[in-house]
């Protein structure tokens, strides 16, 4: 039995050689592209920040105060819009959410500008089903 095996391996070695033959990959294009490798998700051993910060731009920070100048009052009555002084870093989406959270009204559209004194003014036009005068009374600045 052992002698037979030995004879067979000797025959194989004589015909095919003792090292294994690796097959060369057939390349169909001349360009070499990055092969797809395994990408693992992160599993951190500790969180880098101990406490995640509370949202910094909350509704109280976004809207600073309403304006009650003559032109603002005109806009209130005629165009159903409220005029606010707003944080400079606030954007229109944040202003819309803040107005929703604070006063429970939907804004149809918002226009903003930055005054020469550096503060941001927001014209918040309310939807047709909300009355700006009522909201202003509720806020308390009529």
């Amino acid at each position: 039995m052992a002698a037979n095996n030995k004879a067979l391996t000797a025959k194989k070695a004589a015909l095919k050689g003792t090292q294994g033959k690796a097959q060369r990959k057939v390349r169909t294009t001349t360009t070499f592209h990055l092969p797809k490798t395994l990408r693992l998700a992160r599993v951190p051993k500790y969180s880098r920040k101990s406490i995640p910060h509370a949202p910094r731009m909350d509704q109280y920070r976004v809207i600073r105060q309403p304006l009650n100048t003559e032109t603002a009052m005109k806009k209130l009555e005629d165009d159903n819009t409220l005029v606010f002084l707003v944080d400079v870093k606030a954007n229109k989406r944040q202003i819309k959410d803040a107005v929703k959270k604070l006063y429970d009204v939907e804004a149809a559209k918002i226009n903003t500008l930055i005054r020469p004194d550096g503060q941001k003014k927001a014209y918040v036009r309310l939807t047709a089903d909300a009355d700006a005068l009522d909201v202003a009374n509720k806020i308390g600045f009529i």
């Binding site: 051993k45 500790y46 969180s47 880098r48 920040k49 101990s50 406490i51 909350d58 109280y60 809207i63 600073r64 105060q65 309403p66 304006l67 009650n68 604070l102 806020i139 308390g140 600045f141």
Partner: protein, 121 residues
């Protein structure tokens, strides 16, 4: 309004504190509205701002203190709970690491300590 005191705040739990924070911020907003309508309660605005700061301080202090207790037994702690000192100091060898000696050095010190001699008067 009763002045908000920190030692009273520390007895409250987190839910109560966040609620108080919200109330204070709303009050601050209404005070700002009153300012433009000529209400003129300007001292209250300052006091309310400081009260908001006090509540936030108490919230954060107790949170961090609890976290430090939680991480005391663990190997890795979050970076902002580790000692800050300076970058160079953090990279220095620890006292234990710096005092380590090779066996050869230990033997030398044991066999040939610094001798002290005195001249008899």
């Amino acid at each position: 309004m009763v002045a908000v005191k920190a030692h009273e705040l520390r007895n409250k739990n987190k839910a109560e504190l966040t609620k108080q924070l919200d109330d204070l911020k709303q009050e601050l907003a209404s005070l700002r509205v009153q300012k433009i309508t000529g209400g003129a309660r300007l001292q209250k605005i300052g006091a309310t701002r400081k009260a908001v700061a006090r509540v936030l301080t108490v919230i954060n202090q107790t949170q961090r203190e609890q976290l430090r207790l939680f991480y005391k037994s663990k190997k890795y702690t979050p970076l902002d709970l580790r000692t800050k000192k300076t970058r160079a100091i953090r990279r220095r060898l620890t006292k234990v690491e710096a005092s380590k000696k090779t066996v050869k050095e230990q033997k030398k010190l044991a066999h040939f300590p610094q001798r002290k001699f005195a001249v008899k008067a």
